[in-house]
């Protein structure tokens, strides 16, 4: 622990300050963000926005370099063969380009949005059937996007990822296996007390944030 000052600093300074600020006080929130210009959590979101608004090939290339190898790996862990995983990862990135204008950074982190596309490609590849895709639907209200809302949504996902990593290994493995499609929904249902443990509070914070952005 002693040799991890950066991580400790990050975990206590930035996120906790966010979560202690009342959700309604947008003004204070943006001041905090300006003060701590260390956030890169929204970097990928900005890249997707550039792809959407300017067909920015450079931004797309950096998204590709970061996400494509992770999507491929994610799909291979989900039991997809290397060739299909490569194909699906490419398809996912093609869809990222075409659907960039549907990405709403106040509703999802870049990684979450890309995950949902990859997940659907996996289902399509495995079942060769249609999947209902509610994620393309616009949300009910469409308020003007606020920079602080965007950063915080991206940040929440980073914190949730950290919380998943920090779960005891048995619990972590159940959550990961669910997402790698290595467990069935019956097996999840049979888990007495889904071991979400400490990540539950993170999920709740993410939900509060989404609700706030819906207003």
């Amino acid at each position: 622990m002693l040799d991890l000052p950066d991580y400790i600093n990050q975990d206590f300074e930035v996120p906790n300050r966010y979560s202690m600020i009342p959700l309604c006080s947008k003004g204070i929130l943006s001041k905090v963000i300006i003060k701590n210009e260390i956030n890169s959590a929204d970097h990928w979101a900005k890249c997707i926005l550039s792809v959407s608004s300017e067909k920015d090939e450079e931004a797309f290339s950096s998204l590709f370099t970061h996400f494509a190898p992770r999507i491929k790996s994610f799909l291979m862990k989900s039991g997809t063969g290397a060739v299909t995983a490569e194909e699906c990862a490419q398809e996912t990135m093609v869809t990222v380009w075409h659907k960039a204008h549907l990405f709403d950074p106040t509703r999802a982190a870049a990684s979450t949005w890309i995950f949902t596309i990859a997940r659907n490609k996996r289902i399509d590849a495995a079942r060769r059937n249609n999947r209902p895709e509610p994620e393309d639907l616009p949300w009910g209200n469409d308020p003007e996007p606020d920079a602080s809302d965007i950063i915080i949504i991206q940040e929440e996902t980073t914190l949730l990822a950290q919380a998943v990593k920090d779960l005891p290994s048995k619990q972590r493995s159940i959550v990961e296996r669910a997402f790698y499609a290595d467990l069935s929904h019956q097996e999840i249902a049979d888990e007495t007390g889904l071991p979400l443990g400490t990540i539950k509070s993170r999920i709740r914070l993410a939900l509060q944030r989404l609700r706030h952005n819906m207003k």
């Binding site: 090939e57 290339s61 590709f64 370099t65 996400f67 494509a68 190898p69 992770r70 999507i71 491929k72 790996s73 994610f74 291979m76 862990k77 490569e86 490419q90 990135m93 093609v94 659907k99 549907l102 999802a108 982190a109 870049a110 990684s111 979450t112 890309i114 995950f115 949902t116 990859a118 997940r119 996996r122 079942r127 209902p132 895709e133 509610p134 393309d136 639907l137 616009p138 949300w139 929440e156 996902t157 980073t158 949730l160 950290q162 998943v164 959550v175 990961e176 669910a178 997402f179 499609a181 929904h185 019956q186 999840i188 249902a189 889904l194 990540i199 999920i203 939900l207 989404l210 819906m214």
Partner: protein
């Protein structure tokens, strides 16, 4: 729209992870299209997937993959991905692909006492159907071998536990024996998905079961 009955955390996680059969996906996607609150709940679970993707170690892509992707993008017939519109009709967008554009286009089959159903085509891991229950009519008392999701699309029904209105989902499992009854003020139309056949308490519906695929 404010709804009262949401998915539980296990089902939210299963949907987010992409491990539900198609019929259940359809019910969940339809509810998400009715309620922003339901979408926000789901999104908070999908964020776990985003986090896991972010933390996954890389596997190298093939050497020309980026160029391949740019080629695919450029050669794609400029297919415009328009966001579907939120409509106030009975059928939200995801359901239209399965059930037709509107209520009027559904091909119903009578299954007795004014109750009608229409089986929707999904893969065989679970089945999906629309159910039309006339006002004040009760469905036969039944329990479930597996998982059953009932989403109200129009009207409302009540059972021993509660009242369910448009957008509400009732989750049925081994522990739930119930007797859903449409409210008196109008017919109730539901989207039902199930991964096992129902267990009726009386013999007649049980004998009819194979014919109606319920």
């Amino acid at each position: 729209m404010t709804i009262k009955h949401h998915l539980n955390e296990k089902l939210l996680m299963s949907y987010a992870a992409g491990i539900l059969p198609e019929a259940f996906n359809l019910v969940v996607a339809t509810q998400m299209s009715i309620s922003d609150e339901a979408r926000a709940r789901l999104a908070s679970y999908e964020a776990i997937g985003g986090g896991i993707l972010e933390e996954t170690e890389k596997v190298e892509m093939s050497p020309n993959s980026l160029q391949d992707v740019f080629n695919k993008i450029k050669s794609a017939k400029t297919k415009k991905f328009n966001a579907p519109k939120m409509v106030e009709g009975v059928f939200p967008e995801p359901l239209k692909k399965y059930a037709g554009k509107e209520l009027g286009s559904v091909k119903w089959k009578n299954i007795g006492r004014g109750v009608k159903q229409s089986i929707l085509k999904t893969d065989s891991d679970a089945s999906a159907r629309l159910l039309y229950i006339p006002a004040g009519t009760a469905m036969p008392n039944h329990s479930h071998n597996g998982l059953e999701m009932t989403l109200v699309l129009k009207g409302s029904f009540h059972d021993e536990k509660d009242l369910f209105k448009r957008g509400d989902i009732e989750i049925g499992d081994q522990d739930l024996h119930h007797n859903p009854t449409a409210s008196n003020d109008g017919p109730c139309i539901c989207l039902v998905a199930s991964d096992a056949s129902l267990r009726f308490k009386s013999i007649i519906p049980r004998l009819l079961q194979p014919f109606f695929k319920i």
